[in-house]
């Protein structure tokens, strides 16, 4: 009896929902619990701020964001992707942090003709041979960020660099990107377990290899563990440390404090980038959430801007997938990092900056832009993508 009532109630609820034509429904599948939660929460909060700035209407449409927590687990993410396609009938899914989750979710979303707009994960597979008409990346291709430090380390004349990354798709992309521009000797290339807590064994090996610089890609909590332990092992100052922005971004800096001061890292965005949209974003984010935004927050914001721009361009017609796809692909984004255009594989062409971890005027440890490494930089995989 209860079950019948429930069925009836849900049927009525379905009837009561207005026709989806005029509402933009977006699935926000991201990591909201567990050790990776800080990243997902920043993406969500950045996205929410953009929706707020647009008066709650992306592209002039009533916007409904359905949140779900993927717990950083591929199987959970696939289940949620299925739910978003079958039950919630969203037009777009975003939020994904991790490259392995993005790879797992894509078949379900593309099969359901649901646009998948990544605010972070940018695996090489989806940029090259496996690029997909339904997949867009608003942030970057993974390699791009690492390529910039590779070039910087090469230009600075380091000859023997030790490389470390977690053993998953983005970790491999990262070191491949670094090595694309760094041509010197690789003193060691170490892949560690995803989510590893203790790096004592690896740090001892690193010391024994006596490199003249170290490059590490450790996002989130792994980065915090590594940076703290690097300093405690007496390596800070002795061997220069480099990394992508992911390893030295605001989410990590708040936890490691001055241990990371002076480290050069790379990103497509920095809190001090000098444009009006970015200044407003940083100020409003601080006011609303009480913390300095991270790259992830800026990427969440940019993702919402991309959706806003494309939906505006099609005049709110969300039914015609081909037109919407064309609008997303041809969007000229006035993003927080400046102007961004999209390549034929749906990945951005943009500038990559070199940043340095500094102590800001207010005493908070943050990043400062020190140079532009690449201007209008395209990724290395676009030639393999059959979409033209």
């Amino acid at each position: 009896m209860t079950r019948n009532l429930l069925t009836l109630a849900s049927a009525l609820a379905l009837l009561a929902t207005p026709a989806a034509a005029d509402t933009l429904k977006i699935g926000m599948i991201t990591t909201l619990s567990g050790p990776g939660a800080g990243l997902g929460i920043d993406i969500r909060d950045g996205f929410a701020l953009a929706v707020e700035h647009a008066g709650g209407k992306l592209g002039g449409q009533d916007t409904q964001v359905i949140e779900a927590d993927d717990q950083q687990k591929p199987d959970v993410a696939v289940g949620l992707a299925n739910r978003m396609v079958e039950r919630d009938r969203v037009q777009m899914v975003t939020g994904v942090v991790w490259s392995n989750l993005a790879l797992a979710m894509l078949p379900t979303l593309a099969g359901g003709q649901t646009f998948f707009i990544s605010p972070n994960a940018g695996p090489s597979q989806l940029a090259g041979a496996q690029c997909n008409p339904y997949f867009f990346n608003a942030a970057y291709q993974n390699d791009q960020i690492h390529e910039a430090v590779g070039k910087h380390v090469q230009d600075e004349g380091f000859k023997k660099v030790y490389l470390m990354a977690p053993n998953y798709p983005a970790g491999k992309d990262g070191l491949a990107g670094f090595k694309r521009y760094y041509k010197g000797e690789v003193a060691g290339e170490v892949y560690t377990q995803v989510g590893q807590l203790d790096y004592a064994a690896e740090l001892a090996q690193l010391k024994a290899a006596a490199p003249d610089a170290v490059y590490v890609f450790y996002p989130g909590g792994m980065g915090i563990n590594f940076i703290k332990q690097y300093e405690q092992a007496g390596l800070k100052g002795a061997v220069p440390l480099f990394g992508p922005g992911f390893s030295f971004d605001q989410d990590i800096l708040a936890a490691v404090g001055e241990s990371a001061l002076g480290v050069k890292n790379s990103a497509q965005w920095s809190p001090d980038l000098d444009n009006a949209a970015n200044k407003k974003f940083v100020a409003d984010f601080k006011a609303k959430y009480g913390r300095i935004p991270s790259m992830y927050a800026a990427q969440g914001y940019d993702t919402a801007l991309l959706i806003d721009t494309a939906v505006k361009a099609v005049g709110g017609n969300l039914k015609d997938k081909d037109t919407l796809r064309a609008a997303l692909a041809s969007a000229k984004l006035q993003s927080l990092r400046g102007e961004v255009a999209f390549n034929t594989n749906h990945y951005p062409i943009h500038n990559i900056y070199l940043r340095e971890v500094v102590k800001g005027a207010d005493g908070a440890v943050t990043n400062k832009t020190v140079a532009t490494v690449f201007t209008n930089h395209a990724d290395a995989y676009v030639k393999d993508c059959p979409m033209k």
Partner: protein, 304 residues
């Protein structure tokens, strides 16, 4: 690999081992004596780390903050035991798993609300921030402190359990609960104290881990899996087993990560060796568990 590096890796393994022992000792006490499967044990580890991080700026002293955090975590354990767990002792293990899993979610959200989603800052005290020179080996001072604290706790627990009346009851409780109850011992008080002791140990582990690891929501679950591996290997309910299991897991994990990639490099090229070595190293402790259970199905030193 030279001898000095091998010594350093041995120290690393030992240090990870005593860290795991701090967690496993409390968990196995609760499991062995109260027959309660407490998935929320990692929560107290997280609480210990967060409280220490929050108290260091207030008290301006790491040891004081650590002591206060351990006491507060034990106190929280008492409250949680009285409010949430007391009704679960007679229930099925599955009910306990469900309820304590609920506690994990509750405390994770609570910590997120109080401290925010972004990991927070905790560094070792200035005196222990650098390295110590051990006969030419530069070793992180704070890791030596962890080692010392862990060994001190092991001695304390051994004295408590082997030499005191409370310890006698704990031992008796682990082997035959009904008999202890029949003897007229205030079981409710005993259980409460044992649970608080377990929570305090987890809090101590968290407080000592905070300066080395990320102080973040969910940090307890990462260590919890390792802890369960430790008590399964050591034998459920046995402190001696927890110590043996913890040291074994610490050593196998660390040496696996240090030696396996190098070993693979002898037979294949560097990139493949690194990948294969890393993959096998991450499996090493589970292989160890399988081997131990194949030989001794109840663990190394079972209490029951």
């Amino acid at each position: 690999m030279d001898a000095l590096l091998l010594v350093e890796q041995g120290l690393n393994g030992l240090q990870l081992g005593v860290m795991l022992f701090l967690m496993a000792a409390g968990l196995t006490l609760v499991f062995g004596i109260m027959d309660l499967i407490n998935l929320a044990h990692g929560t107290f580890y997280m609480v210990g780390a967060y409280l220490t991080a929050a108290l260091v700026p207030v008290l301006d002293s790491f040891p004081l903050a650590l002591a206060a955090a351990v006491l507060l975590t034990a106190l929280l354990g008492l409250v949680v035991e009285a409010v949430a767990l007391r009704t679960l002792y007679r229930r099925d293990h599955l009910d306990q798993v469900l309820a304590t899993f609920g506690l994990i979610l509750f405390f994770n959200e609570l910590v997120k609300i109080v401290f925010g989603p972004v990991p927070i800052f905790l560094n070792p005290p200035a005196a222990l921030a650098g390295t110590v020179d051990l006969f030419g080996l530069k070793y992180p001072a704070f890791r030596l402190a962890i080692l010392a604290v862990g060994l001190a706790v092991a001695v304390f627990l051994w004295l408590l359990i082997a030499r005191t009346r409370v310890g006698m009851l704990i031992r008796a409780g682990a082997t035959n609960r009904e008999m202890v109850m029949a003897l007229g011992v205030d079981v409710r008080l005993l259980f409460g104290l044992v649970f608080a002791l377990g929570c305090g140990l987890a809090g101590l582990a968290g407080a000592m881990a905070g300066p080395v690891l990320a102080v973040q929501v969910g940090m307890g679950e990462q260590i919890l899996i390792l802890t369960f591996v430790v008590i399964v290997i050591g034998g459920i309910g046995s402190i001696r087993g927890a110590l043996a299991g913890a040291l074994l897991v610490g050593m196998v994990d660390t040496l696996g990560r240090a030696l396996l990639p190098a070993a693979f490099r002898l037979v294949m090229d560097a990139a493949n060796a690194s990948a294969a070595g890393a993959a096998l190293a991450s499996m090493a402790i589970y292989v160890l568990m399988a081997v131990v259970l194949a030989i001794k199905p109840k663990g190394l030193f079972p209490a029951h």
